[in-house]
C-alpha cells in the first residue's frame, strides 16, 4: 500500500543539486549501541492527500543534545514530530526510538504539543492535565496512584506552577498554559522529548524558564527536539540545528550549520525571511 501511494506522488521538490545532508553522515549509528541513538529516521516520506509534506528524511540524533528544528512555514516541522510519534501515517521509511519502533518504546518519549491544539475551556484543572502525563505509564484502566500525584506535584513545582494546581485551565495565561504542558511532559519521565513550538505566545519569564528547564533535562542525559520559529534565538538556545524545508537541508552543530548559505537554502528565495536571516547572522557574528 505505501508503495502505491508513493508512485502517485509527484516529483520531489527541488532543493538544489547538492543537499548538504547525506545519509553517510549517519554512518556512526551503525557502530553505536541503540542506547546511544534516541532517534533514527530512515527515508521517511509523509504526504497529506498525496501532497508530500516531508520527503526522504534521514536523521540520526545523538544522545543528550538540545536540538532545534528550524524552517519556514509549511516546511513540515510539526509534521516531522507527529510522524515520528505515529500520529501521521508514513508513506515510506521507518522511525526508531532507541533502536526500536516507536510503539514499542513509547514510554521513553515525552510530547509537548502546540498549545493551540487543545480547547482550554475543557473542564479540567491544572493537576488533571499534568496527571495525564502519567497515563502512558499507567496503561489502560488503572487509575493514577498517590505516587503519580506526588510526581505530578514535583513536575508542577519544577515549572513553578504548583500554586496553580487546582486552577481551571481556562484561567491561565498563555505562558502558564505552556508551563502546564511542560509539566505534563516532565511527568512522562521520558528520555527523549519532542516539543512543538513551546515558545509561541509566552511571556519572557516563561521563555527563560523553559530554556532553563531544557538545559536541566539535557544535563540529565535527556535528548530534546524542539520546533522553533525564531532564528535569532535558535542560535542561542540549541546545541544542534535541523534545518528543514520538506527535506532535511542540514543537520549539525549550531556553529557549523547556522550560516547564510544554508539558511538561505532552507528559507528559499523569500525576501522578508532572507533579510531576517541576514540580520540574525550578522547579529550572531558580532
Amino acid at each position: 500500500m505505501p508503495m502505491a501511494d508513493n508512485e502517485a506522488l509527484p516529483d520531489p521538490p527541488d532543493t538544489g543539486p547538492d543537499n548538504v545532508i547525506h545519509p553517510s553522515q549517519f554512518d556512526w549509528v551503525k557502530s553505536a549501541s541503540p542506547e546511544e541513538v534516541p532517534l533514527e529516521i530512515h527515508d521517511m516520506t509523509v504526504a497529506y492527500h498525496k501532497k508530500p509534506v516531508l520527503w526522504g528524511v534521514d536523521l540520526a540524533v545523538p544522545k543528550g543534545k538540545l536540538i532545534g528544528i528550524v524552517g519556514p512555514n509549511g516546511a513540515g516541522k510539526s509534521t516531522l514530530i507527529k510522524s515520528i510519534m505515529g500520529l501521521q501515517p508514513l508513506s515510506s521509511g521507518w522511525v526508531k526510538i532507541f533502536g526500536k519502533p516507536y510503539r514499542e518504546n513509547l514510554k521513553r518519549v515525552g510530547y509537548v504539543p502546540q498549545r493551540e491544539s487543545v480547547d482550554w475551556d475543557f473542564p479540567v484543572n491544572v493537576m488533571d492535565v499534568v496527571l495525564m502525563g502519567r497515563y502512558g505509564r499507567l496503561g489502560l484502566i488503572k487509575r493514577p496512584t498517590r505516587k503519580d500525584r506526588e510526581i505530578a506535584r514535583e513536575c508542577l513545582d519544577k515549572v513553578k506552577m504548583l500554586p496553580y494546581a487546582s486552577r481551571q485551565i481556562s484561567n491561565l495565561s498563555g505562558g502558564q498554559q505552556q508551563r502546564v504542558f511542560l509539566a505534563r511532559a516532565l511527568a512522562q519521565e521520558s528520555d527523549v522529548y519532542f516539543m512543538d513550538e513551546p515558545f509561541v505566545g509566552v511571556d519572557a519569564a516563561t521563555e527563560a524558564a523553559i530554556v532553563e528547564l531544557m538545559h536541566e533535562l539535557k544535563e540529565k542525559g535527556k535528548t530534546l527536539l524542539v520546533v522553533h520559529h525564531d532564528l535569532p534565538t535558535a542560535k542561542e538556545y540549541f546545541d544542534m540545528l535541523l534545518l528543514l524545508n520538506m527535506r532535511v537541508v542540514a543537520f549539525g552543530n549550531t556553529a557549523e550549520v547556522f550560516n547564510v548559505e544554508l539558511l538561505q537554502k532552507t528559507y528559499g528565495g523569500r525576501l522578508t525571511v532572507l533579510s531576517e536571516v541576514a540580520e540574525a547572522v550578522k547579529a550572531s557574528q558580532t
Partner: protein
C-alpha cells in the same frame, strides 16, 4: 401551608386554565402550549390546586399522585419512571463527553438517522419487538454516522452540511416508512407512532430490560475508561502519543451513543432525543469546571428531568413524554444559565454592575481630590456645585454621587449638607486613583514614548484596575517622579499618609494624617 397557596396565586392559574380549556374545545397546538405552561406553573407553585380536576380521574391531589408515581406502586407507571431514570443516567453520562468533544450535532444526526431502522425492525416480524427494533435502529444510526464521515472525507462538503443532509434524509425515509406501517391492515402496530415524540407510559418489561443493559454498559465503560475518555477528549494527539487508541475510544463512544439514542426512542422520541444528551450536560458544564463533577451533575439532571417529564405526561395523559422531558431539561438549563454561581448571567450582571458603581465612586473621589487640588488644598470640604462642575454633571447627579460616597463610608456631609468631606478611607482611595492615573500617564509617555496628549483616555480606564504592587513597580521604574506629563504633582505614599498640603509646600495638612 397548602391552604395558603391554594387560596392565592394558584387559584388564579386554575381559573385561567379553565377559561382556556373552554375557549379551545379541540386541543390545538397553542392550547397545548398554554396548558403546558400552566401545568408547569401549578405543579411548581401550588401542589394542591389541581386536586379537583385530577380527582375526577384517579386520586385526590398532585401530592398523592406524585407519591403514587414516585413510589413505584403502580406497575405500568413503575416502568415509565424506571425507564426515564435509566435514560437520564445513560444520556447524562454520555452527553457529558459528547458536549466536551463538540459532537452534539452528531448526536442529533444519529437520533434522526435511526428512524428508518426502527421501521425496518418493526417490519421484521410485524410487531413491536424491542430487540429487533434495537438492532435495526442501531444499524441505521451507525449507517447515518458512516454516511456523514464518507461525505466529509471524499468530497469538499464540510461536516455541518453533511450532518444536515443525513439527518433530514434518513428522517424523511423513516417517517415515510412509519406512516406506511401505520396504514397497514395487519400486525400489532400499536405504539409505532410513539417513536416520534415518545410515550414513557408505553414502556414495557422488555424495554426496561434493554435499557438496563445499555445503561449498565455505559456506566461500566465510563467508570472503567474514565481516564481514557478524559485524555482522548482533551488532547487526542497526546493520548495517541502515549499509546491510547484514540480512534477506538471515539468509535466506542459513537457506538454507546447509538445505543443510548435507540433505547431513548420509546420514552423521548426521535425528534427530541438529542436534547436529553445535550441539555443536561450543557447545564452541568455551566456549573462546574471538573469533568467528573460534570458527569455526576449531568446524570443527576438527566434523571431529574426524565422523571419530571414522565410525571407530567402521566398527569396530562395523552401528552407525549419527550417534549415534557425536554422542557424540564431546558428549564434546568435556564436556571443554570441565569443563576449559576460562577458563570450565571445574573451573577455576571451583578459583578459588572458593582464594578460600574465602584468606577463611578472612584471617579467622584478623583473629582473631589482635583477640586481640593485646584485650591491648593486650602480647606477640606467640597461643595456639590464644585463637584458637578468638575464632573461636568448636573447638581442632582453630583448629589447622588455624593450620597453614594457617604453610603460607602468614603465621605461625610459637611455644613448645611451641600458640602462633603472625605473620610480617611475616602481620602486614601482618592489619592490612590489620582496616583494610579498620573503614574500611568507618565509611564506611557516615558517608557512607551506616547505623546502626552494621548495618554489621558487610557489612564482613565487603567486607574481603576492597577494593583498596589504594579503601581509601586511603575513608581520605581520612573525613579519616584514627582510630576505627571501635564505638570501636576503625583501624590506619593508618603503624601497619602501625611496629607496633601505638603505637595504645595505648606504646613497645613489636608486629608488623612491631619491631627484628628
Amino acid at each position: 401551608m397548602r391552604h395558603g397557596i391554594k387560596n392565592t396565586p394558584g387559584k388564579g392559574s386554575c381559573a385561567a386554565r379553565q377559561r382556556h380549556g373552554a375557549g379551545f374545545p379541540s386541543i390545538g397546538v397553542r392550547s397545548i402550549l398554554l396548558r403546558l405552561v400552566v401545568v408547569a406553573f401549578v405543579v411548581c407553585l401550588a401542589p394542591g390546586c389541581l386536586a379537583d380536576r385530577i380527582g375526577d380521574l384517579t386520586e385526590t391531589s398532585v401530592i398523592d399522585q406524585a407519591a403514587r408515581f414516585f413510589s413505584f406502586r403502580d406497575e405500568s407507571l413503575r416502568y415509565a419512571l424506571l425507564g426515564t431514570i435509566l435514560l437520564g443516567v445513560n444520556c447524562g453520562l454520555l452527553g457529558g463527553f459528547i458536549v466536551v468533544r463538540k459532537l452534539s450535532l452528531m448526536g442529533d444526526a444519529l437520533s434522526h438517522a435511526v428512524l428508518p431502522g426502527v421501521a425496518i425492525g418493526f417490519l421484521w416480524n410485524m410487531t413491536k419487538d424491542p430487540l429487533a427494533i434495537f438492532i435495526g435502529a442501531t444499524i441505521a444510526g451507525l449507517l447515518g454516522a458512516l454516511t456523514v464521515s464518507a461525505i466529509t472525507h471524499t468530497t469538499k462538503i464540510k461536516e455541518d452540511a453533511a450532518l444536515g443532509m443525513v439527518l433530514s434524509g434518513y428522517f424523511a425515509a423513516g417517517y415515510c416508512l412509519t406512516s406506511m406501517i401505520g396504514r397497514l391492515e395487519t400486525g400489532n402496530k400499536a405504539g409505532i407512532d410513539h417513536f416520534l415524540f415518545g410515550q414513557a407510559a408505553a414502556l414495557n418489561r422488555d424495554d426496561i430490560l434493554l435499557m438496563s443493559v445499555v445503561t449498565a454498559l455505559t456506566v461500566l465503560c465510563v467508570s472503567l475508561f474514565y481516564k481514557e475518555f478524559l485524555v482522548t477528549s482533551f488532547d487526542a494527539a497526546f493520548a495517541r502519543a502515549v499509546g491510547f487508541p484514540a480512534t477506538l475510544f471515539h468509535n466506542g463512544l459513537m457506538l454507546l451513543l447509538a445505543f443510548s439514542v435507540v433505547i431513548a426512542l420509546q420514552a423521548v422520541g426521535v425528534v427530541l432525543v438529542s436534547a436529553m444528551l445535550i441539555t443536561p450536560a450543557a447545564s452541568a458544564y455551566l456549573l462546574t469546571d471538573r469533568m467528573h463533577r460534570l458527569l455526576t451533575l449531568s446524570a443527576l439532571f438527566g434523571v431529574a428531568t426524565g422523571a419530571i417529564g414522565a410525571f407530567l405526561s402521566f398527569l396530562e395523559s395523552g401528552l407525549p413524554t419527550g417534549p415534557l422531558m425536554v422542557l424540564a431539561a431546558t428549564l434546568v438549563f435556564g436556571m443554570a444559565f441565569l443563576f449559576g454561581p460562577r458563570h450565571g448571567v445574573l451573577i455576571r450582571w451583578w459583578r459588572q454592575r458593582s464594578r460600574g458603581h465602584r468606577v463611578r465612586r472612584e471617579n467622584t473621589l478623583k473629582a473631589v481630590y482635583q477640586a481640593l487640588e485646584r485650591r491648593e488644598f486650602k480647606g477640606e470640604s467640597v461643595t456639590l456645585l464644585e463637584l458637578a462642575q468638575r464632573r461636568r454633571e448636573t447638581e442632582e447627579e453630583a448629589r447622588q454621587q455624593a450620597s453614594a460616597l457617604i453610603r460607602n463610608g468614603l465621605a461625610t456631609r459637611h455644613g448645611t449638607g451641600e458640602q462633603i468631606v472625605l473620610t480617611p478611607e475616602g481620602w486614601l482611595r482618592a489619592c490612590e486613583i489620582v496616583r494610579n492615573h498620573r503614574l500611568w500617564e507618565l509611564y506611557l509617555t516615558n517608557a512607551a514614548h506616547i505623546a502626552a496628549d494621548h495618554v489621558h483616555e487610557d489612564a482613565e480606564k487603567i486607574e481603576h484596575v492597577l494593583g498596589e504592587d504594579v503601581v509601586r513597580q511603575i513608581e520605581r521604574r520612573l525613579d519616584f517622579a514627582k510630576t505627571d506629563p501635564h505638570g501636576r504633582p503625583i501624590p506619593s505614599i508618603d503624601d497619602m499618609r501625611r496629607g496633601a498640603g505638603g505637595l504645595f509646600g505648606r504646613d497645613e495638612l489636608v486629608g488623612y494624617g491631619k491631627t484628628t
